[in-house]
């Protein structure tokens, strides 16, 4: 009999062996969300004459399983900025909620001015795409520095404080840059070269019409569906201009032709 009170009522060591506390050991780095689980694939975007077109398909994959087929990965902010998320979907939802909160706070703060009816001033004082781009960059970098990154690659489209179109990219390390055309994930390899054919420089992009830009994006989405095994033929497309955002969230890839597939050889069950 063990007479020590702290041992009473506990499994006896001589019967069950010593208690193994190792799995209760919480020291060491936190390991939640240290790798993506449910993921979205590429986001692509291109600038044109008076705005930006962005697109992403509606798929959230669980590994190679096409798990959710109606996940909207383009989000709007204050009706002036579009944010596209590639990477982990739960982190995207976290960021979405976070940005929503930011938008609400911002709307309250920007409210009363001495010139109540000055709507233009009110709008100018709200966070624009340039502000959001910088904010996301700081947020992502802060998270990577605390070894708990948000596993996303984000595209931001809208207008900066000089009212110029802005298209920026932020990744899970906080790396950020702008470009006339941008793509995340597989799109960086598959869609970016196509978009560069049409808008290699800012000057080229400034010559593109809206129709041309939408055409390029649709062409890229098709190539991505053909060649990216984690993609879907249903996608969202957003067009940002000074007048606002046109967001269509249930587009179907048109005029698919899989004829080329017969000629692909070298893997799978083929023997020749």
């Amino acid at each position: 009999m063990d007479h020590r009170p702290q041992a009473w009522g506990r499994p006896r060591d001589d019967v069950y062996g010593a208690y193994d506390g190792s799995y209760l050991n919480n020291s060491g780095p936190r390991t939640v969300t240290q790798s993506p689980v449910v993921t979205g694939t590429s986001v692509i975007a291109i600038k044109f004459k008076d705005g930006i077109v962005m697109a992403a398909d509606n798929l959230a994959s669980y590994g190679s399983l096409a798990r959710f087929t109606d996940v909207k990965r383009l989000r709007t902010f204050l009706g002036t900025t579009v944010i596209g998320f590639g990477g982990d979907v739960s982190d995207m939802q976290f960021l979405d909620r976070h940005l929503e909160e930011l938008a609400v706070d911002e709307s309250y703060e920007a409210e009363p001015t001495i010139d109540e009816d000055d709507q233009e001033a009110k709008k100018a004082s709200q966070l624009n795409a340039g502000n959001i781009y910088r904010y996301l960059q700081k947020l992502m970098y802060q998270r990577r520095n605390s070894f708990d990154p948000l596993w996303n690659h984000i595209l931001v489209a809208g207008f900066d404080s000089a009212s110029k179109p802005l298209l920026g990219s932020v990744d899970l390390r906080g790396t950020s840059f702008t470009s006339p055309s941008l793509a995340t994930g597989f799109g960086a390899a598959l869609a970016q070269p196509i978009m560069r054919k049409y808008a290699a420089t800012e000057e080229d992009a400034a010559k593109l019409t809206r129709e041309q830009a939408v055409g390029v994006i649709k062409e890229c989405m098709k190539v991505l569906f053909y060649r990216d095994a984690r993609s879907l033929d249903r996608y969202s497309i957003a067009i940002v201009t000074k007048d606002g955002i046109e967001l269509k969230e249930d587009e179907q890839l048109e005029k698919q032709s899989w004829a080329f597939a017969e000629r692909i050889k070298g893997y799978g069950t083929q023997t020749v």
Partner: protein, 280 residues
């Protein structure tokens, strides 16, 4: 003798519902020399009278730049103002870093408002003994805010705080309608005139005792037919010889006010008098 029993700390109400420590702090603001602020559609200006402790000493600064787009004028305890000013500088810098824009002046003023209010509700703390006029521009235009030790903040078209500031406020009220459309120079002129009103007899505005601070928008140049965003004229303080040309603008109107709305006798009689306190 009667002694006030309800002014030992800032958390105790008097039976009349007053908090004396907060009222004393407001008195400290009235001890400071006068500062005037005015905002128009394009600019916000601050003007101030500087004081020297003695003939041989230099004049204490009254206007401070907080960030590119914000400046403050102080009346009261300079050392308390320093704490607030450092805090505001940090907030503006932090905002610029995370959002890459000028911090909205209202958010900035709200922050010092909350900070100051906390001091009036905690045992062992004391209110700041300083009042501020905060002038700045942000994406929604030029702004002027008043800040009081109680934590009260308010957006103003024009305002004056400090010793004998009632005279300056009377001038500002008389000319209220003109400010909105005033130019940069006119705004400074109005500020100096208001300042003059509150001077004691035989005192004058000189290059030594006058400070002027300006912040605003300059018209951006048109580029490719498209109107560019307005450019910020950073907050700038003018002292010494730099204020000479502005002083000359208001040098002649001592006696004859050209609007015919000459200085009127001060309406508030109790200013500068001993404040009334509960005695038990």
């Amino acid at each position: 003798m009667f002694r006030n029993n309800y002014d030992n700390d800032s958390v105790t109400f008097s039976p009349q519902g007053r908090i004396f420590q907060v009222e004393y702090a407001a008195e400290a603001v009235k001890q400071g020399s006068v500062v005037v602020g005015i905002a128009s559609k394009t600019h916000a200006v601050l003007v101030a009278i500087k004081r020297n402790a003695e003939e041989l000493s230099s004049y204490q600064k009254k206007l401070f730049q907080i960030d590119e787009h914000v400046g403050i004028a102080i009346a009261g305890l300079t050392s308390d103002a320093r704490v607030l000013s450092n805090f505001m500088k940090q907030q503006c810098l932090g905002h610029r870093l995370t959002y890459s824009r000028n911090m909205p002046v209202r958010s900035l003023v709200d922050m010092i408002g909350s900070k100051a209010q906390i001091n009036t509700q905690h045992y062992g703390k004391r209110p700041y003994g300083v009042g501020l006029l905060v002038a700045g521009v942000d994406d929604s235009g030029p702004h002027l805010f008043e800040f009081q030790p109680s934590g009260m903040t308010e957006e103003m078209v024009a305002f004056a705080i400090g010793a004998r500031s009632q005279m300056a406020r009377t001038y500002l009220e008389r000319n209220l309608d003109k400010f909105k459309t005033s130019s940069r120079e006119e705004l400074i002129e109005h500020g100096l005139r208001a300042l003059k009103e509150s001077l004691v007899q035989d005192r004058e505005l000189t290059v030594e005792n006058t400070s002027i601070g300006v912040v605003g928008y300059v018209k951006g140049d048109k580029e490719g037919g498209e109107e560019k965003k307005k450019k910020v004229e950073p907050f700038q303080v003018f002292d010494g010889q730099d204020v000479q040309r502005y002083l000359e603008l208001v040098a002649d109107d001592k006696k004859d006010d050209k609007d015919g709305s000459g200085p009127q006798p001060a309406t508030v009689a109790d200013e500068g008098e001993q404040m009334e306190v509960d005695a038990y």
